[in-house]
Amino acid sequence: MDAPASRPTCRVGLFVTCLVDFFRPTVGFAAVKLLEAAGCTVIVPPQTCCGQPAYNSGDRAAARRVARGVLDAFADVDYVVAPSGSCAGMLREHYPELFADEPEVALAAQRLAKRSWELVSFLVDVRGMTRVDARFAGTVTYHDSCSGLRELGVKEQPRTLLAGVQGLSLAELPGAEICCGFGGTFCVKYPAISDRMVTDKAEDVRATGAGTLLAGDMGCLLNIAGKLSRLGAPVAVRHVAEVLADMADGPPIGAPGRG
């Protein structure tokens, strides 16, 4: 992978995200590999979650308790990088507002916000990465997760890097910018509506004929993978970081494990 020597080295705190931590550690290791290839030193401070479930449920007090832990844990890194547009968006766009009425914390929240990035946009926009050293045989399609797309402008960056993966071809997903129906607690609070949305998404995915669906957020991936498997659609589902890091040799999300 290209890493121009002139770039300053950087200490990145990996914000693993609770879903990657719990469901898909491979994505975390893929993120580490990519960040190191981009010339960064990666540390993983003690952490849990960004606080979004409480924040989006209207419980600001609980969200602040959780978010304080993140502010402390990532106080002394150059960047905070998350393999998720949703969590990175929380840190970057919502922490300052969450602490707007607590001046002593607000400054720390603003400082953290400025240093927080979604993984792929960090690689491309901050570290100037233009290609990766990876192979993936097959056609993939790509779902643009809502927070990454609309809060952080993640659109071209994953496509730029995927274009350099040997053997990979991208079939664009019709309605790639339409929500999959995950929405955090939405998907269990309003399952019927969520079901309609994810069914539409799964049908769109199937119609591309691609063998693999990629996206940058575990929430969407769990939702779409769960629907595809319920529908019996033979589409593998992976986080985009797995492919970019050349770590897509294990079972896809929701597929039987090894051994």
Partner: protein, 475 residues
Amino acid sequence: MQATSRAFKENAGAALNDPRLQRALGNLRTGFQERRRAAVAGLPEFERLRDEGRAIKDHTLANLDWYLERWEANVRAAGGHVHWCRTAAEARDAILGICRAVGARSMTKGKSMIAEEIALNGFLAEHGIEPVETDLGEYIIQLRDEPPSHIIAPAIHLTRDDVEATFREHHDELPAGRPLAEPRQLTDEARAMLRRKFLAADVGLTGANFLVAETGSSIIVTNEGNGDLTQTLPKVHIVLASLEKVVPTLEDAATILRLLARSATGQEFSSYTTISTGPRRPEDLDGPEQYHVVLLDNGRSAMLGTEFQDMLRCIRCSACLNHCPVYSAVGGHAYGWVYPGPMGAVLTPGLIGVEEAGHLPNASTFCGRCESVCPMKIPLPKMMRHWRERQVERGLAPAVARWGIGLWAFLAARPALYGLAARLGAGLLGRLGRRRGRFGSLPLAGGWTDVRDLPAPEGGTFRDRWAARRRQGGR
């Protein structure tokens, strides 16, 4: 209109299982989304105009009292009358008073969401005045005794077949064997039926897209021309407008007009934009003899100065509905009151109470598409979140959700404990799910697994595996 917003879930379930409705809603993607995209692409300044539109509205709201007084003075100078109304009831009474003063027996109506908000039609009928909706979509749903399901396409929940059946049932004086298979024939039939009503009406009532402080004018935007016939032919023109419609000048109106049609229907400009200032002049050959504006507050002044003030920028273009995946799935009636979709999810709790409309701001994935297409850059998801906060503050959130979030937050604020719980959970589910890779059902996870599988965890959390790797002297 009696709100059924409390039954949102049931309404939505019925809508999702209504194949005719689902077929009708399928028109949104091509009919609105693609047309808007093309129109926006055709105006390079569109994004900057959004910023200017927002600034105009913010400026006006910051001086709303001043602009309303100036607008009112200019209405009077042009020979018009202004009726200030705090509530729906006051607005209904004001309209009835104007009608009675001229002995009115019928009223033609242009499209007005505020007329729906104050439930005007039923009230007029009770008092012996026949209300006649003249917008084609509104006319269709008036025949069917249904509320609108969309702000600018009120009958979007209906198919052509539905409209044909409605006309055959209600236009029973026409030959039964007449051809009505084409939208063209349906449109012509409505045109002929309504032409008589236009010519006979005593009073015409329209809404307003803008009130212009500089000139004391009201502006309506339509495509059919029904609003113009409504306000030109009868003796009396009543404008029913809410107080946030005011803008300072014609220049400001022009800026927002450039955003309105493109955001709404994807047109460059609607067919008819009409600026009305007072009643007919002495030398005019046509036009109404009286011009009244019924100016409605109905809860809006209470939003000013709060975290919901930005909602008062809304120009009712419906772009947020047209691009909302939830609206696209369930249609407008599920929302249970006048205003559907994302703008309704913010406005409705403000107007009828979050106790009544609590579901609406919750039934969103926060996907943000509404805000991204809003010509006034209204932060709709953020305000929906504020309504959720109000619900939590007032103890209105469901107990299960409160406890769940509370327990989760307790753990999430304690990394060691959280790590232990995650290790146990991921380990257990990883082992149980290893063979199939997913769960078709799981205790306590029915909300998820009723409609989709739950992918099994790989087994072992990232943090544990990372720590193990470090201990082994890996990186």
